[in-house]
């Protein structure tokens, strides 16, 4: 099964139909293990039980960046290789990525309330994630703004890649800005201070959430392919109606056949 084989949407649908139940099962098993482990993990000597929030915050934060990476590769697929499924993949990933980013923000702020005494701190990490979230929303707005998916795909691909180039710069700027304004209070989480008892559940949860994303993404891609079929069939129907008014309907059915995501 090569990428070329996958380029055929019908084959993609068939393959994913077989693959999805297994993926879903693996996700559920790993999530269960991860949840059990994070429930039994000991409290952190500094953060107390709130460290448990980290077990979902960190995987979501990781996914927020991972999904943008996936979209960037898909965008290269759209612009450079013109792979027919690339823009389907990019479009399907955006809302899922935005959801995970939202969760990262929400859990981060819920973690911050006991730690900082406030729900929102202009902390460097949270601020970067907030900007990332804004960019996800912008991207989704762009997808929604245009009716023709192939036209929107190219614009979205350019924006995604520009965003991918800009994200490190934004991250660096926000870190710099943050140290400028509050040099003392930096949240200490991660790095070498992490004990094995935290690391393993964290890792399991991260893998489980990544699998969750893959499952959801493939399912959303299937929907997107179907949506495009609906769209091209509707266009065929429209053109058939238009031409049958002129009286040349029967011939047109064959010349303006649907292409798109066939």
């Amino acid at each position: 099964m090569t990428l070329i084989d996958l380029a055929n949407p019908t084959r993609f649908l068939a393959l994913t139909a077989r693959l999805l139940p297994w993926l879903a099962a693996a996700t559920i098993i790993l999530l269960a293990i991860g949840l059990y482990q994070s429930a039994t993990a000991p409290d952190d000597y500094q953060q107390g039980a709130t460290v448990k929030i980290m077990f979902i915050h960190v995987p979501n934060a990781w996914l927020s960046m991972f999904v943008w990476g996936v979209m960037s590769i898909a965008s290269l697929g759209t612009l450079v290789w013109r792979h027919p499924l690339a823009d389907v993949a990019a479009k399907a990933a955006a809302p899922i990525g935005a959801s995970f980013t939202f969760l990262a923000l929400l859990t981060g702020s819920l973690w911050g309330r006991p730690m900082w005494g406030t729900y929102w701190e202009w902390d460097a990490r949270l601020t970067s994630v907030l900007i990332l979230f804004l960019m996800y929303l912008g991207l989704m707005a762009l997808w929604r703004a245009v009716d023709d998916p192939s036209r929107a795909a190219r614009a979205a691909a350019v924006l995604t890649l520009v965003g991918a180039l800009n994200l490190p710069i934004i991250k660096f700027s926000v870190d710099w800005w943050n140290t400028l304004h509050q040099p003392a209070s930096v949240m200490r989480m991660g790095g070498s201070s992490l004990d094995r008892s935290f690391l393993i559940p964290l890792l399991v949860m991260a893998i489980a959430f990544t699998l969750l994303f893959v499952t959801l993404h493939l399912a959303a891609m299937r929907n997107e392919i179907l949506r495009r079929r609906v769209r091209s069939l509707q266009m065929m129907q429209a053109s058939r109606v238009a031409f049958s008014e002129v009286g040349t309907g029967s011939r047109e059915g064959s010349t303006s056949k649907e292409v798109g995501a066939a």
Partner: protein, 61 residues
């Protein structure tokens, strides 16, 4: 199993509940979307619009 979540239990529970809720919404959206798309494909097919070579649009080998 009883967990002691300490004084910050509401925050922890809210976090997990929010994560579960968002994931459930995502799954629900994807499932409903799938249903509505296949439904529309079937309707279009019934009204006589077919994909090329008369293959079914919803076919799954």
């Amino acid at each position: 199993m009883i967990m002691s979540l300490g004084p910050y239990a509401p925050f922890i529970v809210t976090s997990y509940a929010a994560a579960a809720l968002v994931v459930v919404i995502l799954i629900g959206w994807i499932v409903l979307d799938y249903r509505s798309q296949t439904q529309r494909l079937r309707e279009l097919e019934r009204s006589g619009v077919t994909r090329r070579s008369g293959r079914s649009a919803t076919d799954r080998p």
